[in-house]
Structure formats: C-alpha cells, structure tokens
Symmetry: C2
Subunit: 343 residues, 2 copies
C-alpha cells in the first residue's frame, strides 16, 4: 500500500510500504477514508531528527474496519471509526482517569513502528480501547468536522477545559492555527464572555471571530501584551497557548492575570521556559499538555452531529494522498491553514 | 533605633537607623517583640544584588502597636499584632480573591524603602488591611508558632492547598527547610495518607516524621527519583517543591505522576526551568508561587491556639537582634534550621 514517509527535513514522500496485518489479537486493520496534516507535525517536518528517518506521518484519520483480531469485541468489518491521535487500552489507571495519552500500553501514531494516518491502511493496537464508532454514513458531509475530534478540536477543548474557562473567565487565545481557532470555539462553548485572539493571519482570525473571538490582536511580543492589557488591564484570567514556541509562552505569561492560568497544548519547541520569579510572584499556574482526545471524542461528537459547532471549517484545502508532500510545504509556508486528505 | 541592614553578600549588620514615623494616615508603628530569619532570604544574603545595598532584612514579625495614623480604625496602641510577609490594603480586587501578595497597593518588607522585620520598630502601610490581632498575652509561649503564620507555615499551607492535596492524593515534599517541614504538616492536616519527604538533614527529617512524613528519602536527583518511584511506582499525585532551585524543580517533575501537580513555593533561583516535552506530554501542572499569608493567618491560627499543630518547632535557635548577623551565617551553613529573634 502507499503511505506518507519522512526521509529528511522538508522531505515527505508517498512510498510503497508493506500492507498492515493483524499482529496481536487486539488489533484491527482500518482502511483509511480521510486524514489530515497537523500543524503540530510541522516542527518534525521542518527539522526531522535523523533517528526518525523512515517514520510514517499523520495521526488523524477516519476509516472503515477491514479486519479484526480474535480478541476484538466492540468492532466488526465495515464499521466507520475514528481514532484519537494516540492509541490506548482504555482500561489502565490513566485511561480510567481520562488521561489516555499516558496509557501504560499506549503510543503515538507515526513513531517507532506504528503506522501513520497518511496512508491507505492502518494497524490499530488495542482497537477496542482506541477506536470510536461514528454514527454517520461513509459519505457524510460531517467527516471533516468529525475528523477534528482526532486532534485539533479535542486539543482546543483540552486547552480550555484544563485552563478552567467558565462564563466568568476572560480568555486570551494565542495562535491562529487550527488548534488556536478550536480553542476559541471551545472557550465560547464553555461560556467565556471575553475572548481575545492573538494572531496575524487575517483569513484565520476572521474564522476566529466566527468561532467566538471578541477581539483580534495581530501584534506579537511586548506590543501584543500591551494591546491585551488595553482591553483587560490586569490581564486575562486564562490564557490558551496554542503555538508551542518559547516566545508564545512568554507572551502568554505576559497577558495572564495574577492568580490566573496559562494552559498550553502546542508541543513545546523548547526544553526550558520562562517560569522564574515573575510567574512565581504572580501565582500563575501553568497547565495543559498533549490532549487525551480519546477522553473527549464521545462527549464532543453530539454538538458536531447536530450542527451546533462546525470545527471542520479549519480545513481550507482538500488534497489526495499523492498531494500530501505538497500539503506539508503549503502548511509550513502558511499558504494553507489545515489540509484535509481524502483517500 | 537599631535594625538589620545588608551591606553586601554575606554582610548583614545591626545599624542605627532613623526611628519609623507615621507617614500616611493608614500607617501604624509597631514595636517589634519577635522576628525570625527566613531561609528564603538566604539567596539574597549570599549573593546580594548591588542595588539592594542598605536594604533592611526580615519579613516576619510580631509586635505591639505603638502609634496609629488618623485613618486607622481596627487597631489601637497596645494591640499585639502579626503581619504577613507583605503589606496589602485588603480591599483591592486581588485581596478580595485571597491573593494579597498581588495587592495593587502592596509591597514586600525589606525592599525599597520598606522597613525590615529584624529591627526594633516598624512602619506598616495600610495597617488595617495588613495586620492581624493576636488573642494572646505578649509573653505567650505560643509566639514562635504564631510567628510562623507570617511566612513559613502559611507558605507550607499555600503549597499543599494549591497543589490540591486531599485524603486521596499521595504527596512528595522536596526540601527539609522550615517551609518543607510546614508543607509536610499541612499535607498531613489536609488528610494525605502517603507523604514522602526528600531531605538530607537527619534532625530536620526527624521533625518531618513528627509532622507527618511516612517516608524520608535522603538521596537527590535521579537516585532520589528512583527511591520515590520504588514507593509509588507511577510517581506521586502532588509534589510540594519547597527549595527553589532548578535541580529541586527537576526532581519534582521526575517524581510527579502523569496528570499530577507540582506546587512550588520557594522563590525560583532560576529564570528558566525544565518545562519542555516531558512535563507537557505527561500533563503535569505547575502551580504555586509566593504565599499570600494574609489570606491564611486567621484560618490557620485556631489550630495553633488550641495546640493541634505546633509549627514553632521549626525554630531550633533563639537569638537577640545583635546576634542576627551570626544567625544568617549559621543558617547559610545549615547549622541552624530557623532562628527565632527575640528583641
């Protein structure tokens, strides 16, 4: 079969790879219907560590079950399913607490010998724990919005949820990528009355306004902090940091109110961050992390099914598997917000 | 009058300084009865920034009101009072939320032109907001325990409280200084069933056991992390970091359970800390900061008055004002845990 493979920095190719087969009795093989390119993979794409050469790409997919292992009980061939961006047994102590990303038997798609979502088929370990059935036909127009449950919409939700966003909290969202926009959507859904979006791409921030942003601030760094504090003098109660750079984190801390919370979901592109005396003296909490999408998919799905939210609007490009290498390039150059891959 | 003044690194002297006088109508002048040397001041003592030369030292005191400004309504001459380690108006938006350390009109004793607690008398701004009356006689044997409310006991409480310690959480306390020991005491008081104390000074960790520690681990760094995980394999739900060094924070993150919380109250002796991919992937929250003692003193006092807790046991040395310079030296060399200064 064909799948996206990374060969070096900026070098993703569609290669012929072995067809996936049932390996363990809890496995399922999924025929991929649609996938996506994630902004969170751009750092890996742009500066691929040597040891990852040959690794598969992509961690968001919807597909149909093709083959099931002998221990699989919840799934059968033909089921339409979605996977979170990690696999999990859904039974360990961490899964039981809703932290499926720390599953003691889990892992992340596209690393080690795991399959990647940008491929024709896929072996899913612990399929009963990992996969969730979708109650729509395979040609549903809702597939793009449902696909965001695999990562970006669930991640925006995680960011707002662990930040403690409520009706009473003011919110700054940093970053106008797909996750930032989904964080706006979720902050709004959680009732936030004041949502400030920091982002520089007009088409994206326009969508952010549609999703619920009350103000858009294009300035970055100190100028951006000043602009936020023109609106909310003491800073906002919660800050949703959806970028992952040290600069974005510094801005997040700068706009946070004393006693407030900075929630970060973008994978840190730094090993050390600015958490010295300022954060400490102002008692600002730093929370968040990789989103356990598995914990949220069933909860968030109804609002997509009934049209309350349409996070699929973050996709501004639809491509084929063969166009995935070009898709990475277009996303890295910010020509495309997020690419939907239809197989 | 005489007061402790810092002249350079390792150089604290008892100088003659001008008597404090009412400056603003909300001021009170307090005659100091007892003070303390704080481990949190040791970094300042050991490596004093040049711009702080001539600054007063000490931020913990109990004393009697000597003179009151015309706008002071809650206090009168003769009242026995305690101050938190910062002053505050107790009316601003932050004070109203219990974050008195971020009071919009507040400040920290011993910085700028503020008086320090190691002196014979003291000008207290916003005295109605700052000071709390003590319902004991001036010669009460409870003064040492009550004095810990000014900082170390309140700080230990803050650390355990914002970490979310409950009956159901396992706890690692890092540091066997006065704050670490008070954090043990507060974790126990909040009901924690498993308390691990990481500290290397036997006399201090013995007191930690008395305060509630179930295990004591003298190893540091990776060896210490391994020892904690021998006891609680996944790491502890909460970690109370009561040191303030980057090494202690790294240990705290190392012993924290995925989805858990690291609460830090020691002033960070670093500008950047290790909050990269590991903290993020494991969804560990970093909370805490300077303790708003003003918010806790009235709540914590009853347990001291009725003998339920005796945090004053952290004082293992009683000295005079003249002995304060030697007291700093003894604390810096770890000969003394915490010095009580009787004026």
């Amino acid at each position: 079969m064909r799948a996206a493979v990374i060969h070096g920095s900026g070098d993703v190719r569609i290669d012929n790879v072995p067809d996936p087969k049932i390996r363990d009795a809890t496995d399922v093989i999924v025929r991929v219907l649609c996938s996506a390119i994630c902004g969170g993979d751009l750092p890996r794409y742009l500066s691929m560590p040597t040891e990852q050469a040959g690794g598969r790409m992509g961690h968001e997919f919807i597909g149909t079950v093709e083959d099931v292992g002998t221990d699989v009980v919840r799934l059968k061939p033909g089921d339409l399913v979605i996977s979170p961006s990690t696999w999990c047994d859904n039974t360990c102590e961490f899964c039981a607490e809703g932290l499926h990303t720390s599953c003691s038997r889990g892992g992340v798609w596209g690393y080690g010998d795991a399959d990647g979502a940008q491929g024709e088929a896929f072996r899913v370990p612990f399929a009963d724990g990992t996969l969730i059935k979708l109650p729509v036909p395979v040609d549903s127009a809702l597939l793009p919005s449902l696909l965001t449950l695999a990562d970006v919409f669930s991640t925006g939700h995680h960011c707002a949820l662990v930040a403690g966003v409520t009706r009473d909290t003011s919110v700054t969202v940093i970053g106008d990528g797909a996750v930032g926009l989904c964080a706006v959507l979720e902050a709004k859904r959680l009732g936030a009355q004041k949502i400030i979006l920091m982002g520089r791409h007009r088409d994206r921030t326009d969508l952010g306004r549609t999703f619920g942003a009350d103000w858009v601030i294009p300035e970055r760094g100190v100028a951006g902090v000043t602009r936020v504090r023109d609106i909310v003098v003491s800073g906002t109660d919660t800050v949703l940091e959806c970028v992952g750079t040290k600069r974005a984190l510094a801005t997040a801390i700068g706009v946070a109110r004393a006693g407030g919370t900075v929630s970060r979901v973008g994978m840190p592109q730094y090993s050390e961050g600015p958490i010295g005396e300022d954060l400490w003296f102002r008692n600002i909490a730093l929370v968040g992390g990789v989103a356990p999408a598995r914990a949220y998919i069933e909860e968030l799905m109804p609002d997509i099914l009934d049209g309350t939210v349409d996070p699929g609007r973050v996709f501004d490009s639809t491509i084929t598997l063969d166009e995935v290498p070009a898709g990475y390039s277009e996303m890295a150059s910010r020509q495309v917000l997020k690419a939907f891959v239809r197989l």
